[in-house]
């Protein structure tokens, strides 16, 4: 049993993957000597060499496009995009190539590529360093999208993602990089594409993922003091969604609040609301309510705490749900 941060857990998970399979390579800007701007790949180039931990030229489309080529050659590339806001130059390669080569080849070719994206706000950064672009990728068939909310999941999920034969966009909640947890390696990890009930409850279901799981757990704690038992679901997998866990919870609580940092309009909350309403129409006591970033570009850091959903905004929405 060891205690480690999410950043270290990801590092350890990648180390495991590099050890386990010589075809695993890591590529990205500054992932080598520097170990990435968040030090998530620290020490890996030193131990596995420049051929396996590759500092890429400053070109995101190039990073993903060459990863596609390496995958065709039998490699399993793990690409790092330095910050969420810099994934867009690679959008074409991700959406039109990476996501489709398996399909285009009628299942003959595989694209075992992981694209790691530190995402989300709350770190006081400048523009383009606090985005939550997950919905773009969830709307793209052919991709799978996952995100971890704590070090233990980080450790296992990165290994599972690397082991997967499908392309996976792996979102890492950068403001949780330095939070710690205990890892007991003897406990078997949950399947990659499964959601989990992070806290059981009976009154309202909070659905969150990545950085917002902690916020929701805090909210549930606060609500408990006021006598409301909130169930918190950590989605973990954003595409495909593990709706079974969600439906089960909703059938019990009849009330749902979705929470994410991304803009509300066409964010994950929309899809959750649509599916839940269709599937649990007669169980819902209130409409699915959504908390999220406002429908404006991420603001400068001095107001980001207001932009980001926090405990108060979550509880406010819980109250609204309960008021139905």
């Amino acid at each position: 049993m060891i205690t480690l941060t999410m950043a270290k857990a990801l590092n350890a998970g990648m180390r495991r993957a590099l050890e386990a399979d010589p075809k695993v390579v890591i590529a990205g800007e500054d992932v080598g000597k520097l170990g990435g701007v968040f030090r998530v790949t620290e020490g890996l180039q030193k131990d596995f060499g420049e051929h396996r931990v590759i500092d890429s030229p400053l070109a995101e489309s190039g990073i993903v496009g060459t990863a596609v080529g390496m995958a065709l050659r039998g490699y399993r590339p793990v690409c790092e995009i330095q910050f969420d806001g810099f994934v867009y130059p690679a959008f074409d390669q991700i959406v039109s190539q990476l996501a489709r080569l398996h399909y285009r080849s009628r299942g003959l070719l595989q694209m075992p590529i992981v694209i790691r994206v530190p995402y989300g706000g709350g770190i006081g950064a400048v523009e383009h360093h606090s985005e939550s672009p997950e919905a773009y990728f969830c709307h793209t068939p052919g991709l799978k999208v996952v995100t971890c909310s704590d070090p233990v999941d980080a450790y296992w999920m990165i290994q599972q993602a690397i082991a997967s034969d499908d392309p996976i966009i792996f979102f890492e909640p950068k403001r949780r990089y330095h939070e710690r947890a205990e890892l007991d390696e003897s406990l078997a990890p949950a399947p990659l594409h499964s959601a989990r009930v992070a806290r059981p409850g009976t009154d309202v279901t909070l659905i969150a993922y990545g950085p917002m799981v902690k916020t929701c757990l805090d909210a549930a704690e606060a609500a408990a003091e006021e006598g409301h038992q909130l169930e918190v679901i950590d989605l973990r997998t954003l595409s495909p969604l593990d709706m079974a866990v969600v439906y089960e919870s909703v059938q019990k609580t009849g009330r749902v609040v979705t929470v994410h940092e991304a803009q509300l309009n066409l964010g994950l909350g929309a899809e959750l609301a649509a599916r839940i309403t269709e599937q649990c129409f007669y169980s819902l006591e209130a409409p699915v309510l959504r908390v999220g970033g406002f429908d404006i570009p991420y603001p400068p850091s001095r107001v980001e705490e207001e932009y980001l959903p926090d405990l108060d905004r979550v509880l406010d929405m819980v109250d609204r749900s309960l008021a139905y």
């Binding site: 489309s61 496009g65 080529g69 398996h102 399909y103 080849s105 052919g142 969604l241």
Partner: protein, 398 residues
């Protein structure tokens, strides 16, 4: 300021066979094969052209949705395709039918794609011919990444001809403007990847002339990225073969990337949807017709005596038979099944898609209940007018 001489001056073009069929010497490049090999080139080019013409005809008759003809580019494609070693791997655009031919890809697969049956049905790993890429320039990065993998596999510079390998990547003149292509040049140069970039400069990107993309000869683009470039007469199969052979050798030996600009001409429309009379003059076509890649080989073979009437007649006959057979096979292609596509999205199927597929299958079944026997594979989708009676609606996860 660094000089940009050559921008307007005379541009050297490697040529080993004139349009009149005369062999030329070149200080750097030579064709060392014999006339039998040249006869094989001739054969491949004629067959390529015939297949291409058949495909165009099939499109005109409504049997293909579209066709991108390679008419006029046979030498650029066969010359480079035949230079490939048996380990080398190719990344094409959507027009490399002649290269596909050289690598033994059944043209039926190309027709199937343009017929709308699939998005690339050949086994690209086995044929060493990657699937066609339609997004301009995207494949240049795939090719570069593949070459980086080859280098990591230790398959360059070993000196063992059965091991060393290289990657060839095709793209058009228009493609050179896409950011991806420049990024591919940068990665290839930075990692010294064993790759040969072949730009078929056919003078046009749909309606845009080459001048819109570059004001200097394209082969010079490479020098700014730190690797060599050369312009060859793309209608001269010997020059293309020689230049590709040299560039492949260079790549396999570990000396890194290079660029070949095969200077040629798109004799046909961009695709069967295009009408080039809107934007280019007939003169230009006439001018290039005189440089035909096949005619000059025929002239040479006649001149050298290696090709006689029976030879030419045989090739012609073979081409006709091949085309007739191809046409028949094309018409016999079965239509795809919508339901299958749900299974090709992921290596590991998701519950969501499996359910969506199941619901769609149930939905389809409601039509079959009514009509008992569908008239053909497309029956359900065609029944929009005659609705089925109320089915028992499964509660759908959409």
């Amino acid at each position: 300021m660094s000089d940009i001489s050559g921008a307007s001056g005379e541009v050297e073009l490697v040529q080993l066979l004139t349009p009149e069929g005369e062999r030329l010497e070149h200080p750097e490049y030579s064709f060392s094969g014999d006339d039998d090999q040249i006869k094989n080139f001739y054969h491949d080019m004629v067959l390529t052209r015939r297949v291409d013409a058949e495909a165009t005809a099939l499109q005109r008759q409504g049997e293909l949705g579209l066709w991108a003809s390679c008419l006029g580019q046979e030498a650029a494609q066969v010359g480079s395709g035949r230079a490939l070693g048996k380990q080398d791997f190719v990344f094409p655009t959507y027009r490399e039918h002649g290269v596909a031919w050289c690598l033994g890809v059944d043209p039926l697969h190309l027709l199937a794609l343009f017929r709308g049956i699939d998005l690339g049905g050949w086994d690209s790993q086995q044929s060493r011919f990657h699937l066609y890429t339609i997004v301009i320039g995207a494949q240049t990065l795939h090719a570069t990444g593949y070459a980086m993998g080859v280098e990591r596999d230790g398959l360059v510079g070993t000196g063992d001809p059965d091991r060393d390998m290289a990657v060839v990547c095709y793209f058009g003149d228009g493609a050179t403007s896409e950011g991806d292509v420049s990024e591919a040049f940068i990665f290839a140069s930075s990692y010294n990847a064993p790759i040969v970039f072949i730009c078929q400069n056919n003078q046009w990107a749909i309606s845009e002339p080459i001048e819109r993309q570059s004001r200097i000869p394209l082969y010079r683009r490479a020098s700014g990225f730190g690797f060599p470039g050369v312009r060859v007469d793309g209608n001269d199969v010997l020059a293309v073969y020689a230049a590709t052979t040299a560039a492949l050798e260079r790549a396999r030996s570990g000396s890194g990337p290079s660029l070949i600009e095969a200077y040629t001409y798109r004799m046909g429309a961009h695709t069967t949807s295009d009408d080039p009379t809107k934007y280019r003059l007939a003169d230009e076509l006439e001018h290039w017709r005189l440089k035909d890649p096949i005619e000059r080989v025929r002239a040479y073979l006649r001149r050298s005596g290696s090709g006689d009437d029976p030879f030419f007649a045989d090739v012609e006959a073979e081409a006709s038979d091949y085309a007739a057979d191809l046409r028949a096979r094309c018409l016999a292609l079965p239509d795809p099944e919508m339901l299958d596509f749900f299974d090709w999205v992921y290596a590991e199927q998701t519950t969501h898609l499996a359910e969506q597929k199941a619901h769609y299958a149930e939905y389809l079944a409601t039509f079959e209940d009514v009509s008992q026997a569908p008239v053909d594979g497309l029956a359900p989708a065609q029944s929009a007018s005659g609705r089925q009676p109320q089915p028992a609606y499964p509660r759908g996860v959409h």
